[in-house]
């Protein structure tokens, strides 16, 4: 009797790990626009797959295309708003997402698209306690690889050092003669490219539809609030934790699955407003 639920539980826990992986990728993105760019990434990947007939080409190209678009948005729209109220970029990207959701419906149709995982990853592997789709293992691996690369980039390179210093004290970094505008442009491009990647990866699991970005962006902001702002480790742990919580709630109390992340968030806000790993001073 008991071993069947246990197996299902393990399976659900493992599915949660994948969900957590997507959450982590998104949560690192950190801004309204990234939700929108995830959708765009998914759609661009779909079109590229149609053109090149290759998932792998799309996997590499879509984040680049979307990242390049992110460069343009930063350079020609968002940069005009620096020095104004911090709400203004948020408002602008809200208008942009409204326009782009409709634009995506015009270009790719109103009905969601289904994307098949590539042939090499379409099978399932027996993990002992369950049969798990290889594609989902692949998602875990890519997420882990990207995170390690990002961590190395931020901690070990010169530009990474400037980014970390700039986010602490922009004025001081400028005073040292560093052009932060170019650095922010790069950060923005990388963030959006990662959102594009999250979109490509999520496509074969969730399908592609115009409104997917809003759902994802809410989830990822909840994770950033729970994990604590400005903490890469916080985002990773909170993302994985939330993936698990959602997955296990789906198993035990399906009706609560959509609510549970908000409940967790409310509890964290009550007990630790700066987030699990946030520094109190950064609780902006």
């Amino acid at each position: 009797m008991l071993d069947i639920p246990l197996q299902a539980l393990a399976a659900q826990a493992f599915t949660g790990l994948v969900l957590g992986g997507i959450y982590v990728l998104m949560a690192i993105g950190l801004s309204l626009i990234f939700g929108l760019m995830t959708v765009l990434g998914a759609y661009v990947a779909f079109s590229l797959m149609g053109l090149t007939k290759s998932f792998w080409a799309a996997l590499v190209l879509a984040p680049l295309v979307v990242g390049a678009l992110g460069f343009l948005v930063e350079r020609f729209l968002i940069r005009r708003l620096y020095g104004r109220s911090p709400d203004d970029p948020l408002l602008l990207t809200f208008g942009l997402s409204l326009a782009m959701v409709e634009g995506a419906k015009l270009l790719w149709g109103k009905i969601g698209l289904t994307v098949d995982p590539p042939r090499q990853l379409a099978s399932a592997v027996n993990l002992g306690f369950m049969n798990f789709p290889v594609y989902r293992l692949f998602v875990i691996a890519v997420t882990a690889a990207v995170l390690v690369a990002l961590w190395l980039f931020l901690e070990k390179t010169r530009i990474g050092l400037i980014i970390r210093a700039g986010s602490r004290d922009a004025l001081m970094v400028r005073a040292l003669g560093i052009d932060l505008n170019r650095v922010w442009l790069l950060v923005f491009g990388i963030g959006i490219g990662m959102a594009g990647l999250a979109g490509v990866l999520a496509g074969p699991m969730r399908g592609v539809y115009a409104e997917m970005g809003v759902e994802i962006i809410i989830d990822s902001f909840v994770i950033v609030v729970v994990g604590g702002m400005g903490s890469l480790a916080g985002a990773i742990i909170a993302g994985l934790l939330m993936g698990e919580i959602v997955s296990l709630t789906t198993f035990f109390a399906p009706k609560l699955a959509e609510l549970i992340i908000f409940i967790v968030m409310a509890v964290v806000l009550l007990v630790r407003p700066s987030g699990l790993f946030g520094e109190a001073g950064l609780a902006a």
Binding site: L81, S97, L98, G103, I218, F221, E258, L259, F262, A284
Partner: protein, 321 residues
């Protein structure tokens, strides 16, 4: 310039906002193509008025105002359709109560963070209410919306008035919105209103002056939810149905767009914006299916080039940003 020619008019209107409101909106239903559009402008203007108190005057950007609008709508709708109450006043009161309690609770949580996190938290809690309404279909009708809200006559001291014609309903809403506009004016002119604007301009300074800004922000949040809830309750009576979308983020987005088009932090901006948005949407949807695309682009242009909005630009009194 146009704004120069209009200056005497806009100056008088700005000096006598409540009187201007009473005069203009008494004539308004006879100036628009059909009367139900006038009622919509009134109700969404009130919704935007509530949003504007929080964003335009207190400087707190909420992306989840659908929550209070929806609570007001479901509160009044459930009172009439499920609890079988026959008093419209009681139903409105229940809607307002739901919005105020919701606003106080959600505001308490959201005000623990600032800036973009505050905005995202308001959005997250509004989506939470949306999911609850979606699944609690016994009470809310779920995906189909809450249907079968009866149209009762409005009980008054001297008898009762039927609200079945669009014009009768318009003037019922008109009286309530006038009261709300007068109340907002009273709030803004009070010392409390001055502190709200001080928080918007420089919250650190307001703290240094000894104000408990968290309590004041929460009060502003609750007042804002109250106005939004009244708008929602009125809309439930107007439509006799509460679509589940009234809690969805698109509703929150609409009120943001309306307020910014009209002019955040200006007294009439919300009504100017609601009228602009609704008339634009009404006309555009005749020609293009993807009309939100056009609205999105117009909205972006306003954020970039006309941050004071229409009314703020005409009166040159909008928020300096």
């Amino acid at each position: 310039m146009i704004s120069g020619a209009l200056r005497p008019i806009t100056a008088w209107v700005s000096a006598h906002p409540v009187a201007s409101f009473i005069v203009f909106f008494a004539a308004f239903p006879f100036l628009v193509p059909y009367q139900s559009l006038a009622t919509q402008v009134l109700i969404f203007g009130l919704f935007a008025l509530g949003f504007n108190l929080l964003y335009g005057y207190t400087g707190l950007l909420s992306f989840g105002h659908a929550a209070y609008y929806g609570l007001g709508a479901y509160g009044a709708g459930i009172a009439l359709a499920k609890l079988k109450l026959t008093s419209l006043w009681l139903a409105l009161g229940i809607g307002l109560g739901a919005a105020v309690i919701g606003g106080a609770l959600i505001g308490f949580f959201c005000l623990r963070r600032r800036g973009i996190y505050f905005a995202m938290l308001t959005l997250a809690f509004a989506q939470m209410l949306y999911f609850i309404a979606f699944h609690a279909s016994d009470l809310t009708g779920g995906d189909d919306g809450l249907r079968g809200i009866p149209v009762h006559a409005l009980g008054l001291p001297g008898g009762s008035v039927s609200l079945r014609t669009p014009l009768a309903f318009y003037f019922f809403a008109y009286v309530l919105v006038v009261l709300a506009v007068a109340a907002l004016k009273r709030i803004l002119d009070s010392p409390f209103g001055a502190v709200l604007q001080a928080i918007r301009e420089n919250s650190d300074r307001a703290v240094a002056c000894g104000y408990d800004i968290n309590r004041i922000k929460l009060l502003s949040f609750v007042f804002s939810a109250l106005f939004a809830g009244l708008a929602g309750a009125l809309d439930a009576l107007r439509l006799t149905v509460v679509p589940v979308d009234s809690l969805y983020w698109t509703t929150s987005g609409q009120v943001v767009i309306m307020t910014l088009l009209g002019g955040a932090g200006t007294f009439f901006g919300p009504f100017v914006g609601a009228a602009t948005f609704l008339i634009l949407a009404d006309r555009l949807s005749l020609f293009i299916e993807a009309w939100p695309l056009v609205i999105g682009v117009i909205f972006m242009a306003f954020v970039l080039f006309l941050p004071r909005g229409i009314w703020g630009t005409l009166t040159a009194r909008g928020v300096e940003r």
